[in-house]
């Protein structure tokens, strides 16, 4: 254990190393007055350094040599490891998964917006189903919270998508285990529905109340791996005379959701509407809720029509480059766009 990893000022660290205190154990063996003399610093400062060191060595024992310097802090190296090993929620459209780096990430807030009828709700339902794909099939085996503010969640559609997902899993299973005896699996589409916690929200106060309540709910249901809000916008687009209040409420909500995502290692998916923005004499299409809201999410995906094909475009992402990919909404749910498949075959 190196002294250089202690949360100390650079000058203190420099003095420690030049005085020969390179390892944590050498620091633990000394007293504050000895340290003050060796480093030519006040005894109080020496005591502080020892306190940091002892807290650190205490933590090390508990965390079994982990890198937790302060409570909750991590090194970038650990985070990279964690990110590389983390599993994404697939969108069931491999082209879309590719540009997203595997799918919708846990610990992040992803915002998805587009015109009515582009497939926002479809994608929402698809993710609520896909999060339940068991670990044996490369999924998370988690549960979903679906917060419906617009009433567009249809049970029969969710069942349809769940059935298609179960079929795909059975097919995968029979490919994997050629022996038909081994593919004894019991995947009930209805079980998918039972693992969705559905909240129907009718006012913005209810929306805020439910988001505040989520923390308690998720700590009781630790297997929840995705929270979908369809849509975050609807109740905030009716007459808010006090726009500053709206910005404050939205900001508070965004912060809560980000914390939930981090703390419980789950994905938060916010569906948003689009609006026209009046800019220098012309109307442009942007995601609703204004500029300050655009900071609320880690990733932003815009869904749009390109001719007769649906496309998804990464507008904002800290790790993926902006790119777009076609997708299709089928009876089975979100899938690869068929015209794209043809193109791939031709090449």
């Amino acid at each position: 254990m190196e002294v250089s990893s202690l949360p100390l000022s650079a000058s203190q660290r420099g003095k420690l190393i030049s005085a020969g205190y390179t390892s944590l154990s050498s620091l633990c063996a000394t007293s504050s007055c000895n340290l003050a003399r060796d480093l030519k610093i006040s005894e109080n400062e020496a005591a502080d350094i020892l306190k940091v060191a002892s807290r650190r060595s205490g933590l090390d024992k508990i965390e079994n040599g982990g890198q937790a310097i302060m409570n909750g802090a991590q090194t970038a190296w650990d985070m990279l490891h964690e990110e590389e090993s983390s599993i994404c929620i697939t969108t069931s459209c491999s082209d879309l998964d590719d540009i997203l780096g595997g799918g919708i990430r846990c610990k992040e807030v992803t915002e998805i917006g587009g015109v009515p009828g582009i497939g926002k709700t479809q994608l929402g339902i698809q993710l609520a189903v896909n999060v339940q794909i068991p670990a044996d099939y490369g999924g998370l085996g988690g549960k979903a919270i679906y917060i419906d503010t617009e009433g567009s969640f249809m049970v029969e559609r969710a069942l349809q998508i769940a059935e298609a997902c179960a079929d795909d899993m059975l097919e995968y299973n029979s490919l994997l285990w050629k022996d038909s005896q081994a593919c004894e699996v019991n995947i009930q589409p209805r079980a998918f529905l039972n693992n969705m916690f559905y909240f129907r929200i009718c006012t913005y106060t209810e929306q805020i109340a439910v988001i505040n309540y989520l923390e308690k709910f998720i700590s009781e249901h630790k297997d929840v791996k995705v929270v979908i809000i369809d849509s975050i916008t609807f109740h905030f687009r009716q007459d808010f005379e006090d726009m500053a209040l709206r910005t404050r409420l939205l900001g508070g909500m965004a912060l809560k959701l980000m914390n939930l995502a981090k703390r419980f290692n789950l994905a938060v998916v916010l569906l948003n509407q689009v609006t026209t923005k009046y800019n220098e004499g012309s109307f442009q299409l942007t995601l609703a809720l204004g500029d300050s809201w655009s900071h609320a999410s880690t990733n932003r995906i815009i869904l749009y029509w390109n001719g007769n094909e649906r496309h998804a475009y990464i507008d904002k992402s800290p790790s993926m480059r902006s790119a777009s990919a076609p997708y299709a909404v089928t009876i089975k749910g979100i899938r690869n766009s068929t015209s794209n498949c043809k193109r791939v075959k031709l090449m």
Binding site: P116, E156, N194, C202, E206, F234
Partner: protein
């Protein structure tokens, strides 16, 4: 009220649906008009949206075994008064399936403005349980917003805020009482020069050979759950050399967007007995 009360778990098996009174049209809509959400019917005048509304007013009274909601219906009109004669004519075909006179269970109220509608909505809390209403038809939503608002950014903002308010209240009541809410909307012509924003399944909607789009624009499109489009096509039938070749009108209905329906369409005809889908 606690946040945990808003959780519905386990989910209900299926959304209740209101029949359209025709198996083909019901198939198009996956069983009928869903309760608890807002369904919008967009069409140019004379295509049959009021006809379909009238049919729904009666179908809602049918017993659940026949696909109805065994309940009364409320008709709010802003354009024309209720075409009573036509409703009476249609009601004859529903009479045999009902214990009561169907006309006694259709409540009618005129709407004068968007504000009037907003004033009326809180009264639903009282009206709906008292008269066992399960269907609300607003014919038409577009007429409430015609003329009242000017075409300036500020007025348009005020107008769209009104849309969300109305929609939110309607959705609230739809969920609370399990109401089927059906709105009709007009169309506006699309100018060739303007770059038209695509909403829903088809790139361009055409009716009577003209390119049209639903009235009230993008923000209103966010306010409905399901949008259906009805259109007509004029077709010449009979021999070519006759100058007075008969013109026949063909009518179609299509799903523009819906959370639970694929992009499908169906041809329909309007007969004395009502509106029926046909296979061609």
């Amino acid at each position: 009220m606690n946040p945990e009360d808003l959780l519905r778990h386990p989910l209900p098996a299926e959304t209740p649906k209101l029949t359209l009174g025709c198996p083909l049209l019901d198939r198009l809509l996956g069983g009928g008009v869903p309760c608890g959400t807002i369904t919008e019917i967009v069409a140019e005048s004379g295509t049959g949206k009021t006809q379909l509304s009238l049919q729904l007013l009666l179908a809602a009274q049918l017993p659940t075994s026949r696909g109805g909601l065994s309940a009364s219906s409320l008709y709010l009109h802003s354009e024309f008064p209720l075409p009573f004669r036509r409703l009476h004519q249609l009601s004859i075909f529903y009479r045999p399936h009902l214990q009561h006179n169907p006309l006694d269970h259709v409540f009618v109220e005129p709407l004068h403005s968007a504000d009037h509608l907003l004033d009326l909505l809180p009264r639903l809390d009282f009206l709906v349980p008292k008269f066992n209403v399960k269907l609300i038809v607003i014919d038409s939503i577009a007429a409430l917003f015609r003329g009242e608002f000017e075409n300036t950014p500020l007025e348009l903002k005020r107008r769209s805020s009104m849309f969300f308010k109305i929609s939110s209240k309607l959705r609230f009541h739809a969920r609370k009482f399990g109401l089927a809410v059906v709105l009709t909307n007009q169309v506006v012509d699309v100018m060739e020069s303007s770059d038209n924003l695509r909403i829903g399944n088809s790139a361009a909607l055409c009716s009577s050979g003209r390119r049209v789009c639903p009235a009230l624009g993008l923000s209103w499109a966010n306010c409905v759950n399901t949008r259906l489009f009805m259109w007509r096509e004029e077709e010449r039938v009979g021999s070519e050399d006759e100058n007075f070749g008969n013109m026949q009108t063909r009518r179609f209905i299509r799903v523009v967007f819906a959370p639970h329906l694929p992009d499908t369409f169906c041809e329909f005809v309007i007969r004395r007995e009502g509106l029926f889908g046909i296979n061609r």
